[in-house]
Assembly symmetry: C5
Homo-oligomer: 359 residues x 5
């Protein structure tokens, strides 16, 4: 269900853009979803503060402060606001297009003064449906701009570490913040994979216990979900690799050590995904083999019933004939003899089927 | 249907050429399809004009004007006309061959003074059939030559942007025009993919509701269509990549930024196509599993009916025998007793099948 | 059929050679097939002549003439003659081995004074069987040596162009002749693919109309044929690529432009072959799904017949019993009542199967 | 079973970490599994001694002795202890994280003064279940630190060689010790593969003798196990390759010769694993084909029984009719004639089925 | 059968070695198979002689003679003897380990004074079983050491060429001898492939004529055999390639020309193997489709018999009822009428099944 909706939406949205000039900044998400909400977390080693800026100037002011600022913008439907932010922070229009294009595939673009990244934030919501949310991040000298589609996100851990001054985050620069956010996104992929793994286990059991068309359908949905996840996650390992090889002055050698860890996780995720994919394919195979088993069982019941009673009915039919001269009919124990023959036949058939392990 | 016709035509056409000298300029499309029609859109930042040139000299005149000209030639069957255009614009005969060869696979060739590209324009016509049309484009210093097979195209967006002066197009050179046209072609691939995605969804539903041979056939046609589309689209990402890496003076660094965006789209299209391909394969698998299900259901009905009534018929047969001495026949309630036994048996069988979840 | 024979022959031939010294010049084809026949086509821009040389010296004389000579040798069983040609033209013994080895896989070897190439000429004969013929070509400064297994070939187009002075061929050197021959070979691959495509279409129809074991067998033969063709055609694209990258003085820059076209065709052929391969695999899948369909249909007929008549027969059986006390038997309209019940039951069953869409 | 547990645990553990700061040293195994146990084997060419150090200083003392020390730490749940070891030996916190992360995928990280490696130790326990254990190793100038999850390991051979002074190990430096331990791990992969191979053979036999749902289930479990093993083993060959290419002064040229041998083994393991994977897939295929066979057999029994007795019953039915005028009923030998006809029919059916090879 | 034995042995052997020091020289074959037998063939252009040396010194003497010597050692179980040979010829212990390890995967190792190669000699024995035999070869300046597991080999052709002075072998150095031996090994792979191809053809026929479980089993064995052969043969093409690229002074430029030919053959073998693999997979597919066909046939017989006779039996049942008032029973021609109806029904059913092509 959830899956289907996503596909449809995606296709529909892209349609709106076909024929427009390249670089046109068109919002591709649920236009009426959320109104734009801006939060700025500013911190240094010794202090941290959360701002709720009222206008664009208050936001732009954080560009050049020596403190580290995390400008978090939720809701991408107000395109003109995004454009204003872009021009105040000096962003290329092509980037603005990517920010509001919620179908953007994961990418990293390096510019002279900033590094742009677009990713898919994946999480499982309270209905245990998979949610995919577009997130765009810009790393600048003293701040990180984060653009999110929806209010929910996977960054609470980072927020807590900043306010609680736990871990290294408060002692480091914006590049570490950028990494910490990216790391949160990647870490959450593990939760999503867990969800997939759980679904596989549930389906595995159902395939054994009660294989029916609905189970087959859910296996197909799972396969689609894995395909989708792979499309969103697969490019990440290459992008992180590119950040590590980057010569930009924005990323310190120290942060690169941490990025190498994130790279490691990306590889692990891809390998696990590959395994889940093969497991999902095995599920279908298993389903087919169980269907075959069921059919076999059905056929055995039919064969046993028919093979036993059709010959017996034939014998009864013989002595139901009305010929004038049928000596057996007049034997004193003819009737009991026929019963004897029929019971013997019955037992022989039972033994035969027993031997064939059909009983 | 549509699919099959394409394959046949293609094969047939190539046949005509086998044995001819390489470099022979042979039109490989529907020779009688369209007559040649030339339109020239000339523009600078400050003006734009559409010409309908009467002869070849009027066309050639646009080669050296400082304005940007889009020479659009529709209909490739008049080979001598194409040759004349080629010689006036100084094109290599090998290129001319590629221009009229409507089976040409996508390619980019760089020459000193111009860059030649051949692509497949894909769109869905009013009967929602997939149409593939050969288009060849030559980028020159001040003009772009476009050769199309048919009158329909995907360039209306570009035409509108030029005439309405919307977007950047009027302020830029011929390389941007070349990019804009290529971008239109690529953008339309999304529409084609959408169409594929829609077909998959429709088939998915039918596979569940009414799997029959006709559905299986349409799944196969879809698989073929995806194969074809892949053949046409797959090379594009490499070609765009080559344009970006090109050292030709014809493509400005600025335009390359836009090309990088187009490259991104090409990757996305290829990934989606890959997913649709796997979905199409899943459809067939699903179809087979549903067929199995149906068979199972059929077998269950047969088995239940036969297993219940064959033994009962046997009992009836017993008391239809004509033995002289069958005491039960003379019991006062013999008949009702037999009914009792048969109904009991019937109920036992029902319970048995209920337990097996066959009912 | 045709396919099988080829495989067997091939294997058998290789056997003969195992254990012999490497470089031993052993003919691996049909030893008695054709006797050696030599034709020389000599031409310059202004004249052309066909020679039928009587002895080896007359052949060797063409090595150093300034005219371009195409020395065409048909029939490879006279190994000593091939060796004489080799020594007169200064060919390495390893090449001679490859010339007479009709199982040689496609290859290009560059030597200082000449370039050696071995290819598979593929064509469809009058019985529309696929024929694969080994052809070896040596490009020298002023001549091209061509060694063929059989009299049939795909070079008639080139012969005509030389004698009719059509196309560029008469104005160019031996390297262009070499290319023209190679191009003929590659162009004919399209005809072979067409044949494959045609077979697929025929089988597609038969799979729908009358799927039987013979059709399944032909699908398998087709799959084998595609595998074989791929083995013969696949290396060509790399070999042509190597010629283009070659630094040999024998190939002019101009000819390389044409080779690039041939390379393009090789890619196209490989892509098409890939598609045909997947289509052939789909055919088998389709066959299985149609078999399933048929089975389903058979089962439905059985189930309907049995489900309707077994209960009715049971009712008839009831009233065929001979109990003394069966009141229904003595009712005046008992018989008609039973008919009524049976017809009612019959109709109910029909409605039930109608609802299940089994009718 | 064993398989499932592993998957579940793994997923659960990762969960605990999501949201924490990167570089947080969190133990991801069975926290209460083993308490930390440290053993140090110290040796030179001329002496060897086993230490059981009481405190961290006694351990750290081995860092700078000229003798070679193998510091073996079992039990990773006491994170603060691991951290102390880390700081005494000067290890990067990121490494400490990898040491206690028992889900770490295989990796090699080179630092200036040491080389860090994480591997999966695989072995088959007494219940012939596959056990995977995380092991981390640090190669330093004069010592090798080994961190293990559990008390069991595959290093007994190395211990014996040190104490018995057999092989080269006592005459060489810490890099050889590091290699010897790694070699033990890799060698044990062969034992695991053997176990897989044995399972395949057992399943192969069962598939032929008694294919049932439980066998199908075990085939699936085997496929999963192979997938898991591949995930753990696959990266090793690349890691060993990286050690060989390393320019670190810690690894002597001589030891690299041995590593090349280990690399060879890694390749062999991967190839075998690939074969086992394909065999496991063949098992499922075989299972399906045997199921089909069984079904065929069941159907044949049904068809033979029904085809023989249904027509005979029909004949008996005919002469059970009660028409007033049925001349055959009054023939003297009518009854025997009917028996004759029925027996003839019976024999004809038998011959027919014999001819069809159904009997 | 043969296959299974190989797998088991292999696994068992490796077990013996696990836990031993790397570089331990452990024989991994049939320890009691053959006793060691040494033959030396010494030759120059003008003479050749076969020696049967009595002790190790007589063998070692051939190391430094200017003649070319082929030291052939059969039987690898006497490890100490191999070690003595090793030390006299100055071989690295790691190589000795590889020489006696009969499970060694194919490899080439270059040392300063010699080149070591290990290969699998494959041949089909008199029972047409596939035999795989480990062979290790060392190329030195004036001699080639060959270590074989068993007495049988594929080198008779080389021996004959040396003694008969046929081919180039007597006029060339040890590198050509090394090549000639390797070429013999590779050439014999063709014989093995032939055997595979023959098996495929036989199975193909059986699949059509008599598909049963035993055929399915043999298809699986064939698939395994192809997997094994691939594992043994696959690395060869890379190894030969490495010899060609080698800069060792031991291999002359002239011999490299011949190696290039061997490389060509390796490629051909790999391609053929790939094709056989796909054919083997097709066999299984074909088997399943034929099983389906058989099932269909069985079901048709059942359906036809049941559909025809169940309704007829029902009619007979009707007139077997004992109602007092059944007018038809008293019609004069009632009985014949019923026969008429039944025959009509019978014919209608026949026509129906004829139309459905079930008859």
């Amino acid at each position: 269900m959830a899956k289907k909706k996503i596909v449809t939406k995606r296709q529909f949205k892209r349609h709106k853009k076909v024929g427009k000039a390249p670089g046109t900044i068109t919002y591709m998400g649920h236009r009426d979803a959320t109104e734009t909400k801006v939060t700025i977390i500013e911190y240094t080693d010794s202090f941290n503060k959360v701002h709720y800026p009222g206008d664009i100037e208050q936001i732009a002011a954080h560009k050049d402060t020596p403190t580290t600022s995390w400008v978090n913008i939720v809701g991408l439907s107000d395109v003109s606001f995004i454009e204003k932010v872009g021009s105040h922070f000096g962003l290329n229009p092509l980037i603005l297009e990517d920010i509001v294009n919620t179908q953007q595939r994961p990418k990293i673009d390096e510019y002279e003064d900033y590094i742009f990244g677009a990713f898919k934030m994946l999480y499982v919501n309270e209905n245990s449906e998979l949610v995919s949310e577009h997130v765009a991040m810009v790393l600048m000298k003293n701040c990180v701009l984060v653009f999110q589609e929806l209010d929910d996100d996977v960054f609470n851990g980072v927020r807590e570490r900043i306010s609680a001054k736990s871990g290294r985050i408060r002692t480091r620069d914006s590049d570490y913040l950028f990494f910490a956010l990216l790391d949160s996104i990647i870490d959450n992929y593990f939760v999503v994979l867990e969800n997939v793994s759980h679904k596989i286990e549930v389906l595995e059991e159902e395939v054994y216990e009660n294989p029916n068309q609905e189970v087959a359908h859910r296996i197909q949905l799972l396969k689609k979900e894995v395909l989708k996840i792979r499309q969103w996650i697969y490019p990440v390992k290459e992008l992180v690799g590119r950040l590590i090889d980057s010569e930009s002055a924005l990323i310190s050698k120290d942060t690169k050590l941490f990025l190498r860890d994130a790279l490691d996780h990306s590889y692990e995720i891809n390998e696990s995904l590959q395994i889940y994919r093969e497991m999902a394919m095995s599920l279908m195979e298993m389903y087919m083999s169980n269907m075959s088993n069921k059919m076999n069982e059905v056929m055995k019941v039919l064969t046993i019933m028919a093979s036993i009673f059709i010959p017996l009915t034939f014998i009864a039919g013989i002595y139901g004939m009305n010929f004038d001269h049928m000596p057996e009919l007049h034997w004193e124990h003819g009737y009991y003899l026929v019963w004897g023959i029929m019971i013997t036949l019955f037992i022989i058939m039972l033994i035969y089927f027993k031997k064939k392990h059909w009983l």
